[in-house]
Amino acid sequence: MTAVITDQAPPILKGPSDKEKKYDRQLRLWAASGQQALEDAHILLLNSGAGTVGVETLKNLVLPGIGKFTIADNATVKHADLGVNFFLDEDCLGKPRSECCVKLLQELNPDVKGDWFPREKGESLESLFGHGHNFTLIMYSLPIEAESLALVQKYAEKNQVPLLSIHSAGFYSYFRIHLPGTFPIVDTHPESTATTDLRLLTPWPELSKFAADVTADIENQSAHEHGHIPYVALLLHYLGKWKDIHGSLPSTYKEKTAFRDTVSAGARRDNPEGGEENFDEATAAVLKTISAPSLASSVKEVFDYKPSEVEASSSFWVITDAIKQFYGKHNALPLPGSVPDMKAQSTIYVQLQNIYKAKARRDISEVLEIVRAHPSGKDVEVAEIETFSKNAAFIKLIRGIDSTPPSIQTIASQEFENDKTAELTMMPLSLLPIYLSLNATSHLPSASSSDILATVGKDVLGASDNQRLVEAAEEVARAKGGELHNISALTGGMVAQEVIKIITKQYIPIDNTCVFDGIISRAQVLRI
């Protein structure tokens, strides 16, 4: 069998480096691997209009130490900029907005490189894209000229670069992510409460033996021993007894609650505490742990996806293929191998931990063998297979924007249909009207509400009779294309979170459009 290295190297007694100190609070979120990905990234912002939301986004990326950023912007700084953009001051009036913003943003973090464009008056956008830059991700703020948009879209398409559009006006904003192809994520960071996987219905021999050993002669154990049997062993013990009586394991809700009562009845109550903590833990864990594992719909989606030929040779799809085979054979995913804390003696708990760890290692070895047998599996790194196996229940595939997305009319009909029953279902009303109204000004500095409604009406039937659309159009018209700093700061925070998720390939980005309503303080993610 192929060897798997999982034991940690012995810890080295040394304090954190300067960089670790500065980035301590974020390294706890995305670790050194995420940080490295950020430091390797080069982000381009194509800025226009009131010009603040993109700069606020960059602020939140410069601070955590993105490698490099470039701002392309043709505007010169005006007084109105100074009332909305924090990264400009009086000295900037009349100067190129790109250069001024870059300089003040760079002050935030000496480890980050900043660049601006155009360097000389009259330089065309083509020359920026012709320079052989390797942009990791491109953001552009709206409104934008149609020709510029076509150019940046062409570049992103050709170079397979994620593209983000951002539009902030008055109290409203939206942003949309255009990922090149599918976007699979392994390191999704599920809530720790969701990750407990103890396999109590399908124990393997070592685990069964452990449970039998620590519950042997349970009636006659000393108070100390009895009160420290780990709940995993207690549950296995009582499951065995249940099976002896009923012939099968508890499966219905009614059976499980009856089983829970049996467990609870096993606790000794003739002590000063009037019960035992380990039995309380066992009782509380019954409904959550005594159930056959089922495949999450997001994992099914990954399994069902047919990767293209190019995709299929990537390590993600090679490992997925192996995990799928593993699942087909065992009707279970590889064991993650972690054990939650529970009342137990130290040595017994460590013994239990080792049993789960050993099983997890065996599962990983099996996956590794399947991977190695795959035509593209020779060079897949063991560490990647380990991470993948441990997190197999939480992998996720973002499909991105469909090649033939549903029409706006279809989405609108569905959203407005939902709104009719919103009061009954206690669901918030759709924010689609905001998206539609902002989208109608994608290439205009500002527009009247009737112009906005006329544009929306080209895609959505009866737009001007829809009260909420009329109101959204009026609110967008009221802003006259101006940004409010708070809304742009808030949106810039959300966009930066998404950029970090995409670059680090950790956590789960939106799919694919997020609308924010600063009047009712609510966001909605739409697939458009």
């Binding site: 194509l46 601070l63 109101e471």
Partner: protein, 453 residues
């Protein structure tokens, strides 16, 4: 031949009056919208009232708050923060540079924003919020807090509610609270960092932070016996080093969480203990995290929450749109898995110890000693009082200070509740976290009192 494509900035910058810094703010301040109320006033006079409003920003969201308030058109801003700048702040608190480490956060931030945004006055207060009295808080029109502890929040909440005087409309200070560090709803959410919440309180009129206290359940402490005898997790070994080994060995006169030498001592101790029990996972970073109770924090989440708070302050001050408060008053934000906001109305509680009228029922076992009862108050989600002093209707049960009173009332700690008070009696509790406010409870015995034989 087609023209070369220029950078996107050729979309003209929209402008009403090209020379006005506040053009964009004026778009919404001087024009009605579909959701503005009938009283909304777009006149010069109405717009200029904002120049006279005084707002206070408190705590860890300070940099973002000051930037957002200054660019929202507020002219008279105060900031209160007792902290000094640490190198680990630099990844998100963007007004601070490496050369500022060790200086007062409030002072550096105030000077920076005042310099950047002309015409704004920012007054720093380098002290604890508890160091200021009611007269100080009375001068503000709106208070925004981004405080990083529940204790400080509760203090600010009860202080502002105490100010509210029906005879004086000026005394009602809207409180806007933002946080990214304790947004766990009933302890369900464990992954912080991409999450936060903002909420608006109209004192005595809408649900206050105390009404919402049970939504922010305290972290369960690990029992001492686990630390002392049966550690199982790396955290248990670190807590052992922190609580037990340090006390026993006293390697330095006083533990300083920011001193790397002290953290290294704890780390080595914890590591040795972990090896003894064959527990893996003790690292320097984890040691520091456990000892300082470090919660992950990033610039973008701070930006979201601070801007949400300032957006509400702006709407309250200008009436340019409805704010959170009377209907929905609480927004939760989560960015871990896609983006999710939950905006809802948290109902005011009539028996809220701070803003309610009624004494709250408190179920208690009369056979508890007063000591046990006091300890239980720290753990109850709706109380969370760590240093309570307790008075019954006619006599004092226990006082934490002054020393003379503590000594006098100490013997009561060993007495049983049923011996000290009767079923249905009211008690009043004070605690440093509540400022001058009392908690009023009506005791309900849920067990029979068995007098000691």
């Amino acid at each position: 031949m087609s023209q070369p494509v220029m950078v996107a900035g050729t979309i003209p910058v929209p402008a009403l009056e090209p020379d006005s810094r506040w053009t964009y703010l004026d778009n919404v301040r001087r024009n009605t919208g579909p959701y503005t109320s009938e009283e909304f006033d777009t006149s010069d006079e109405a717009v200029s009232t904002m120049d006279r409003l005084k707002v206070l920003g408190a705590g860890g969201l300070g940099c973002e708050l000051l930037k957002d308030l200054a660019l929202s058109g507020f002219k008279d801003i105060h900031v209160i923060d007792m902290d000094t700048i640490d190198v680990s702040n630099l990844n998100r608190q963007f007004l601070f540079r490496h050369s500022d480490v060790g200086k007062s956060k409030a002072e550096v931030a105030a000077r920076f924003v005042e310099k950047r945004v002309k015409g704004v006055s920012i007054t720093p207060h380098n002290c604890k919020i508890q160091d200021k009295d009611e007269d100080f808080y009375m001068q503000f029109n709106i208070v925004i807090c981004g405080l990083d502890s529940i204790e400080a929040r509760r203090w600010m909440n009860s202080t502002l509610i105490n100010l509210a005087d029906p005879e004086n409309p000026e005394s009602y200070k809207p409180l806007i609270d933002g946080g990214t560090e304790d947004c766990q709803i009933a302890g369900l959410s464990t992954q912080l960092g991409f999450k936060g919440q903002s909420r608006v309180v109209f004192p005595t009129i809408t649900s206050c932070l105390e009404c919402q206290l049970d939504m922010h359940a305290p972290r369960q402490a690990v029992p001492l016996c686990t630390l002392a005898t049966i550690p199982r997790q790396p955290e248990h070994c670190i807590e052992w080093a922190h609580i037990i080994a340090w006390e026993q060995e006293q390697p330095f006169p006083k533990l300083d969480n920011d001193d790397p030498e002290h953290i290294t001592w704890l780390y080595k101790k914890a590591l040795a203990r972990a090896e003894e029990f064959k527990i893996s996972g003790v690292t320097y970073s984890l040691t520091q995290g456990v000892v300082k109770n470090i919660i992950p924090a990033i610039a973008s989440t701070n930006a979201i929450i601070a801007a949400s708070c300032c957006n509400e302050a702006f709407k309250i001050a200008t009436q340019t749109n409805p704010s959170l408060g009377f209907e929905e008053n609480y927004m939760m934000y989560s960015g871990n898995d896609s983006i999710y906001t939950y905006t809802f109305k948290h109902e005011k509680k009539d028996d809220c110890p701070v803003c309610g009228q009624l004494a709250r029922d408190l179920e208690v076992d009369p056979n508890f000693t007063l000591q046990e009862f006091i300890e239980s108050l720290a753990e109850r989600a709706e109380a969370q009082l760590k240093k309570p002093s307790i008075r019954a209707e006619s006599h004092t049960l226990y006082m934490q200070s002054p020393v003379s009173l503590e000594e006098m009332t100490r013997p009561n700690l060993k007495k049983k509740i049923g011996e000290l008070v009767g079923n249905g009696d009211e008690i009043a509790i004070t605690d440093p976290s509540l400022g001058t406010v009392n908690f009023k409870y009506k005791l309900k015995f849920f067990k029979e009192y068995r007098a000691a034989v």
